[in-house]
Structure formats: structure tokens, C-alpha cells
Subunit: 227 residues, 2 copies
């Protein structure tokens, strides 16, 4: 089992991460950039979702993306097809992104020239949950092929996220996906969580999600009159 000393050292790493994340959040706010991070298990369709998101938002917004993986530049190459600025972060053996990696990857980018910055985390339903990256919104994606029970099995990551996105809806019939069960499981773990159901492959359901992001950006830029 993990030793108490490991837990203590890990706590210090997290504390340091939170300080950097807080500074990042301030920078994003000051520059007017809205930052959305994506977490999910490997292969649930983060990159396909992100590629379509970058492409569809671009006529109206200036978008950019950072993408984390243990190895390969594959995702950055895929996302670059959208013509948006993209940087790959390779983590080696580390199962999550940390705020310091985001800070370093942003060197040379002018955040004032970005409306939406997307951060695609390493495919992992456990490790990324504890690491604040300074984002405004965290999306947790789950594909219909993964099974309806994932929220119950990985409650921490669903709790650390703001919005759930159910992907690969084009395969729902083939896998006999039980939407009511999936929805109930998400709500059981995180009552009131907003859920989008879509297929980034066919484009079905994308517009609702993208409109939601547009609203969030507008809200951030218009300070509430009363609160």
C-alpha cells in the first residue's frame, strides 16, 4: 500500500500545483481567454470532439489547444488540421497534466489573441482529477461504448468536472447504450450536472454544446450586475 510519506509528498506537489494554477487562472481572466479542459479515459473521443470543436468555433472565435499525451505528437498533428494553433505536451510516464506544464507550453503565445483555449488531458479517469490547470470549465467525456457505469466507478473525476459529454452517440444502438441508466449514474455522483450527448463523427448534438461554450465566454466577459 502507499506509504504515509508518499501521501505527504504528494500533498506538497498538489499544493504547489494549485499555486501555479491560481496564477494561470488570473492570467486567463486578465487576457479574456476562456479555458476549457477535457478529461476522459483513453479512446473516448477527446481528440475527435476537439478537432470538430476547433473547426466549428473558428469562424466566430479565435481558438487554440494544448494536448497532453504520454508519447507521440499524433494528436497535435490531428488537431492542426483545424488550422488552429496547437501544442503537444508529452508527459513521459506521468498520467496527467500539471499546471506547470501548461505554464511552460504557453510560452510565446499571446493569450489576448485567444478567445477559447482548450486543454486535452492525458487519457485517464483517475490521475487528472486532482490537478487544477487554471481552467474555467472542465468537461468529462465518456463514450457510449464504455458502459453506463463509469460515473459510479470513477466518481472523483466526475466530481472534479463541471459538465459531462457523452460521445460516440452514433454507436449507441450498436452497443445497446442505456441512456437513462447513464444519466441516472451521472446524476447520482454529481446531482444537477449538465450533460451533452453527441457524436463528433456525425456532428449530431455538437451545436448545443458549442452554443453553451459561447454563452460561458460571453458571461465571463460581461461581469454580473448583481450576484
Amino acid at each position: 500500500m502507499s506509504e504515509p510519506r508518499l501521501v505527504e509528498v504528494r500533498r506538497n506537489v498538489l499544493k504547489q500545483n494549485d499555486m501555479i494554477a491560481r496564477a494561470l487562472r488570473e492570467r486567463f481572466r486578465g487576457a479574456g481567454a476562456y479555458v476549457v479542459s477535457l478529461v476522459s479515459s483513453p479512446g473516448s473521443g477527446k481528440t475527435t470532439f476537439l478537432e470538430r470543436t476547433l473547426t466549428e468555433l473558428q469562424p466566430k472565435y479565435r481558438v487554440a489547444a494544448l494536448v497532453g499525451d504520454l508519447a507521440t505528437e499524433n494528436d497535435a498533428v490531428r488537431l492542426a488540421r483545424s488550422k488552429a494553433p496547437v501544442k503537444q505536451i508529452t508527459t513521459g510516464t506521468l498520467c496527467h497534466l500539471e499546471a506547470a506544464m501548461i505554464e511552460k507550453a504557453l510560452e510565446g503565445w499571446d493569450l489576448h489573441q485567444i478567445d477559447f483555449l482548450f486543454i486535452e488531458n492525458v487519457g485517464n479517469l483517475v490521475c487528472p482529477s486532482s490537478y487544477d490547470l487554471g481552467e474555467n470549465l472542465r468537461l468529462v467525456l465518456m463514450s457510449v461504448t464504455e458502459g453506463e457505469d463509469k460515473p459510479l466507478k470513477y466518481p472523483t473525476i466526475f466530481n472534479s468536472a463541471d459538465v459531462a459529454v457523452v460521445t460516440k452517440n452514433d454507436l449507441a444502438t450498436a452497443v445497446e447504450f442505456d441512456w437513462a441508466a447513464a444519466e441516472a449514474n451521472i446524476q447520482a455522483v454529481r446531482p444537477g450536472m449538465q450533460i451533452f450527448r453527441l457524436s463528433a463523427k456525425t456532428g449530431e448534438g455538437m451545436s448545443g454544446c458549442l452554443e453553451f461554450l459561447g454563452q460561458r465566454l460571453a458571461e465571463q466577459r460581461t461581469p454580473a450586475q448583481t450576484s
Copy 2:
């Protein structure tokens, strides 16, 4: 980024894990039990594969399973339908099983009464790779729905495994799965790796994999004459 001190403490945890794993391996060998562990991302079909494996092996072999998850007893409940002895290990926030958890979960079980012990790890393509559980064989599963690039993106876990199992082959056409690319990617990361391609849902391809396990058990029990 992770501090050097964290790396050092982690190394000690791994060293301790390896000692327990070595002792477990000796116990398994002494009892004649063949131990197979399963690693994969969440939702790639470990439990469905294991349920069918337990059911199909039972007429001929005595089988048992340990199954790891952060939370819920769902998988143990599913696997218990096979009538095999099953124990759930819940890891809390830990993204992998450790040898000490296996040791503890085995309390009260007579390993001499088991031909095959299966250990289903937490759904994660990163963390489990470093932890030896004393198993004889490690299977890494990837489903056709996850995309062909997973071996390149998670090379460490493919390197730590002995055999690859491509699951959900019934969905291969629906997701336009590129078998040649997947095979080439596995071989690029781990040249010569044996690969089984199957659907645990329809049963297609299961027999080849189960026969392979039967051979491995037989080999373990028949010490090689020359080596």
C-alpha cells in the same frame, strides 16, 4: 512538475511492491495456480471478457478472480454470475492494484484449489504498468472503439504486458477499425507480441485465447526437460 523527492519515495514503494510480488509468485508456483492479470483503459471490456472466460473455462478448470476498482462492487457482482469465487478490491483514489492488496484479498482462499486466478486491474493505461502483482501472464486489452493508436500513446503498458487482446470485434465494422494499423502499432511498440482478436459479447475468437491459456497452464505444470 513532480519533485525529485516524490520520485525517490515512489521508487521505494515500487521496491516494496516487488518484494511482495516475488513472494506471491512463489506461492502461486508452489500451489500450481496460473495467474493472469488484465489491464486496459476503462470500458474496453475487461469484465465482459473475464465473465465469459470464467464461464467457458469452468467445465475443465477451477477458476477464481480478483477485481479492482476505485469504487463499487459492480464487477464482482457481474463476475459472480459465472459461479466462480470472486472478490472485489476497492482502491479508493488509487489508480492501480498493488501486490499487497492481492496478498490481502487472497486471505482465506486455498490456492491449491485454483487452476487459474484472474486479476482484473483498475481501468487505466498508465498506472498499473509499474506494479508487479506476481502474475504469470499480463494481458493488455484494447477495444476496437478506442482507436488504433493506443499502443503508440501508451507504450509502457504494452511493454509491461505479455499478450494483447483486441476486444469488441463485433463493432469493428461500425467504427471502421483498421486492423493492419492496430497490429503494426502493437508490433512497433512490442515486436513479436502475440495478439488475440475477439468479441467477448458474441464469443467470436474466444476459443483461441482460452486454448492458449490452457497451454500456458500445462507448460507451467510440466517443467521443461531441456532449457
